[in-house]
Amino acid sequence: MPVKTYAEALCQSLIDTCEAEPNLIFIPAAFGGLSPHAASFRPFYARYADRILGAPIAEIALCGIGVGAAIGGLRPVIDVLSASFLYQGIAQVVNEAANVLYMTDGKTACPVIFHAMQGVLPGEAAQHNRCLSAELWNSPGLEIVLPASPEDAAGLWKTAVASPNPTVFMDHQLLMGLTQDVPDHVDPIPFGQARICREGKDVTVVATLAAVPRALEAAERLAREDGVAVEVVDPRTLVPFDEETVVQSVRKTGRAVVADETIRSCGVAAEIAARIQERCWGVLKAPVKRVTLPDVPIPFSRPQEAVVWLTPEKIAQAVREVLAWR
C-alpha cells in the first residue's frame, strides 16, 4: 500500500467522489488552507475545475445556498475555509440546515456538506482559531465529522458525500502532512464507529482531530517512561457518537481522559466526560479529566500561546493524574 499524506488521501477521495457523484459541487474549494500541503490537492482542482464555483466572501449566503442546493438535488460542499468564519453563516447551519428534515417531518432532505479547517494554528491569534465542534454538537440535526488520519479523512469523506443529512466535515491544517499506508481507493467508513488507535489496559484517552496524534505521542511516552498502557480512542464522528466503544474502553481501563481542542467550558470534552461518568459509574476509579483549551482567547505571542496549546505533555500529565487516584 502506498504511503500517503492526509492531504493526498483526501484529495484522492475528492476525486473518487466527484467521479461517482455527478451532482457533487464545491462552493468554493480551499482544501489544505494555508498549509504547504494545499498543493497536494492540485490533481483534484485540475480534474474537476468545472465542479468548483468561485465565490464572494459571503458566508451567510453561501451556507444558505448550500441548504437550498442540497434541497434542489445537488450535493453541495460549502467551504468556509476556517471554522472561525462559520460563525458568520452559522444561522444557516444550526438553525436552517439542521432543522430541515425534522421540520418537514422527514419529507425534505438537506444533504449539504459544510467544510472547514478547524483547530489552533501557530500565530493565528484569537479570531482565526475558533473551534466550533461544541456549538455544532449542541445543534441536533447535523452530522459532525472530525477525521484524524489519512485513511479516516478519505473514508469518512466518502460517507459524508453519500449521507442524506447535513454534515459538517472539519479537517485540520496541522494534520495535512500526516502519513499512513493508504490503499489507492479507500472504502467509505461508516459514521458512528470510533477507532481504537492504540490498545491499552490502564487508562482510556478519548481524543479528537489534532488531539489524536498528540494523544498517541503521549501514550508512547507514557509506555516508555512510566510503563503505562494507554488506550487511545478516536470517536471520528461526534454525531453520530459511538458511545459504546468509549464506554467499553473505560469499563476496561477504569480511567478516562478526554482531549479535544475546543474551549473548555461547554466544549466537546465536557460532553464526553459527562457521558462517561453517567455510563461508567461504579467502574470509574478516578474522575474523568479533560485536556482542552482553557477559557481564554488565543493569544498571539509565542510564550502565551504555548500556555494554551494542547500538547502531548498536557495529555500525559492528565493521564498521570487520573492514575494517581486510588
Binding site: G72, T104, K107, T108
Partner: protein, 334 residues
Amino acid sequence: MERVHELLGRMLFMRRFEERVIELFEQEQFEGHYHVYNGQEATALGAMDAVPRDDYMYTTHRNHGHLLARGADPVALMAEILGKANGLVGGRGGSYHAAWPEGNVPVTSALVAGNIPQAAGTALAAKRRGTGQVVVCWFGDGAVEEGAFYETMNLSALWKLPVLYLCENNSVPARYRAMGQYPSSTHAAPALTEVVRPFGIESHAVDGTDYDAVHDLVRQLMERLHRGEGPFFIEARTSRWPGSYGVWPQLTGGRFQIGWVFDPASAPEVVREWTTESDPIVLLARRALERGAIDRQGLEALDREQSTAVDRVVEAALAAPDPRPEDTFRHVLR
C-alpha cells in the same frame, strides 16, 4: 364574470381562513406565534396563478396565503397550524414552518431572510442540473434589512440564477402604493426597488392589492426566467391590515363583513380607512360591482359559500389525529 367571481371567492376563502385561525388561537386550540395574510390576498393569488406547479416556491413566517394560493390542501394547512398528524408537515412546524414538499415548497424558515439564500441555492441546483425549474422566493420588506439579502443578491446576479424575488412590502401607506417612492423608518432607500439595482438586477414595483397587475408582471417575468433570464426582483406594495399592527394578530373590528363593500361607513372605525382604501377584497369587489360583473346578492352568496367551506376545513382539521409522542425522535437525521 366567471373569473372575477372565482377570484373573489378565493380571496374570501383566504380571509375567512385567517379569521378562523385567529379565533382558534384565541380558543387555545394552538399555541405559539403566528401571522395572517389579511390584506395581501391579491398578491399571492396573482403571483401563484402565474407560477407553474413544477417550479419551486419558498415562503416565510407569513405563509398561509402563499400556500393556499399555491394550491395546498386547506385542511392539511389548517391541520398543520393546529399541530395535527395530517398537517402539511406532520404538525412538526405549525404556522411558522408550514411547507408543502410535495408541492415544491420544500421547507419554510421563519427567520427573516432565512429563505433567501436557500431559494438561490435551489435555483443553482435547477440551473446546473438543467431541470428547467425556476424558483419564486417570497419575503417581507423586513428581509431587505438583513445582510443575508444583499449577499444573496450579489451571488444571484453573478451566477444569473433563475429566481423571482418577491418582496411583499406590507407597510406602505395607501397613497404611496402606486408611486415610485415612500418613506420607511427602517430602510434608508427611497424605495426598496432601488436596492437591487447596483447588482444589475431588474426590479419592478407593483400594487399588491391589484390581482391583474401582479399576475401580468409575474407571468412576464416567469416566462423570461424560463428562457434563462433573471434574477428579477418585485416589490409588491400593500398596506398593513390593522389587525396585524400589534405583536399578536387580532380580529380588530371583528370579522370582515361583506356589507362593508357597499357601505364603508358601516365598518368599525379602526378598520374603516383600511377597508376603504386598501382591502384587496373590497377594492376588487367594488370594481366588479361597478362593471356589473357581480351583484350584491351574488357577492353575499359567494361569501356564505366560502365561509361554509372554511368551516368544513376547520372541522376536519380539528377532528384530525394528534402526532404520536413516540415519534418525537424520528427524522432528526435520516
